[in-house]
Amino acid sequence: MSEPAKRPSLAVWKFASCDGCQLSLLDCEDELLAVAGAVDIAHFLEASREVKPGPYDLSLVEGSITTPHDAERIRFVRAQSRFLVTIGACATSGGVQALRNFADVDEYLSIVYAHPEYIQTLATSTPIADHVKVDFELRGCPIDKRQLLEVITAFLHGARPRLPAESVCMSCKRRGNPCIMVLRGEPCLGPLTHEGCGALCPTYNRACYGCFGPKPFPNTGSFTDWCLGRGSLTRPEAVRLFRTFNANAPAFETESRRHEDQNDQS
């Protein structure tokens, strides 16, 4: 017996995060009802109390893994999902909460909580791909909602999302922005950062702070040494510059550790 064609089912999952990336879906005000018509929203707790059983055709996963319980739960989510797409810096690199990876988590616990013994937490915050197979990673802190729609649309058509892996500089040039590094000598992470925002910060006269994480093969060492040589950056500032919302992304992590080590020696 053949059943009538079913709409693909969509599930949205949250791990350690701020909820901003899943909010991006609700922020697609013009498209939300069309999306809800094209897919069956089967599990999206921020938006609906109705929960349909899996398996799900497409899972969007927000947040990083920071507790033993979540390390188990992501395996369940993977097992229930035909395609699993991570959305945002937390899910793709560990997020701002990965700053604990460079510190002593017991000390963090005692700073924030009166009774640390009640808290279950891991010493690290890690991306979803460290735990299960991920089919596509969407970057950004937060993600760009147009890119999210591209991912959902591509999925519905059985295609790869068409999202360039170039640097922020490319869109900055296309927008005709004056270069922050050239004009003001300020350290702008645009040359190292994955495109996706449309060069938002430079358009607002601000140096890029890398919230979309590193682009493939960023020349972090050359960038930082150039800034250090010109005196536009100190080593402690370099450490902080690479340790924000994608601190655990390998290229940024390596670079921040390099300057931390040299701090210790000097």
């Binding site: 707790l45 109705e50 920071t66 510190a103 808290i119 358009t203 006269n205 500032e237």
Partner: protein
Amino acid sequence: MKTRTIKVDYLARVEGEGALQIKIDGDRLEELHLRIFEPPRFFEALLRGRAFTEAPDITARICGICPVAYQMSSIHAMERLCGVAVDPIMRSMRRLLYCGEWIESHALHIYCLHAPDFLGYESAVHLAKDHPEWVKRGLALKKVGNSLMALLGGREIHPINVRVGGFYRMPSASELRAMKGPLTEALAMAEETALWVAGLPFPDLERDYTFVCLSHPDEYPMNRGRLISNRELDLDVADYETRFREEHLSHSTSLYSRLDGEHYLVGPLARVNLCFDRLSPRARRMAEKIGFAPTCTNPFKSIIARALEVIHVCEESCAIIDGYVPPEAPYHVCNPVAGQGFACTEAPRGILYHRYAVDGEGLIQEAKIVPPTSQNQGVIEADLRDLVRRNLALPDDRLQWLCEQAIRNYDPCISCSTHFLDMKVERS
């Protein structure tokens, strides 16, 4: 009589992760716990050693629903520390950005998170199948708030354009004027919204609350003023921690913020009740029309308070735009001073307190952040106990839904996990 247990493992239509457990023994409520199991993210710890100028961008990441609130509280705290007072135009631009967040957050909550409860729908998507015009109006209203945030902040979630001392880039007069049309439409939609929510069926519950909000003689509470209550509180924000304390209760693993040891309520209902006379003229006229007068003590009617506030911020946004003259510089230079800075602003969900200790190099030594939902947690539980006792006769599924609706009265933003403790998750 039989013991019955109602468990909601994952609360829906709230921001963040929480659970509710109710144990009823016959006609007696035995146990009720609202559990927050948002994983801890340690913001107060990870802020240590960061530059004071980084606090707005870092604390924004506490909550994707109200990032502007975190940016505003941290910026005001740092400017107080540096002894910088921004000029009136810059202040009004911050207020305009905050208005955008209030419109966006309130419209989201009214239409997508809360109204479906009153009408018996699982979500706004379900509601849209029967009443697309309502949901479309809500989304259109929400979009205007987001457009305002995108213009002033660069983007809706985690705006990039605010900094300690002002903005990176000020909008041009013509960019702002272009928002007048959408805001005028939003004002009309906000009025329709208030009429609509006033007609919803409200569960019967009146409670004796301590309402707390900011209060300033010249404006509706948002980013300055003293802390007041309906019970003789009148406090400088500098003294916040002398009266407001967070307590770690032995029977619970959550932190509860208390005022002189008692629960208190923050958010739209507190603001509208305590500062009704500072609502915009059209918001007050609408309140009169729908028969909403202070002091309202039915928590379910917070959805009306929220709608009145949307009218207010739409009207105020138009006034701010009319008076806009671009300033000479987009920001004041702020040099770090060793010491303490603190501030309280009104997030859409209620007061948000920040305090920072900073050293002479401008590095943060200590941070304290008290989000609105940790302040409302005590009254949420008290409301639930009262509600359950009054409705013991309801079957489990209806009682559960009513409790969920009562939690959503507060638009709880559980992602604000600075303080929300993870509890040992009960595994079943």
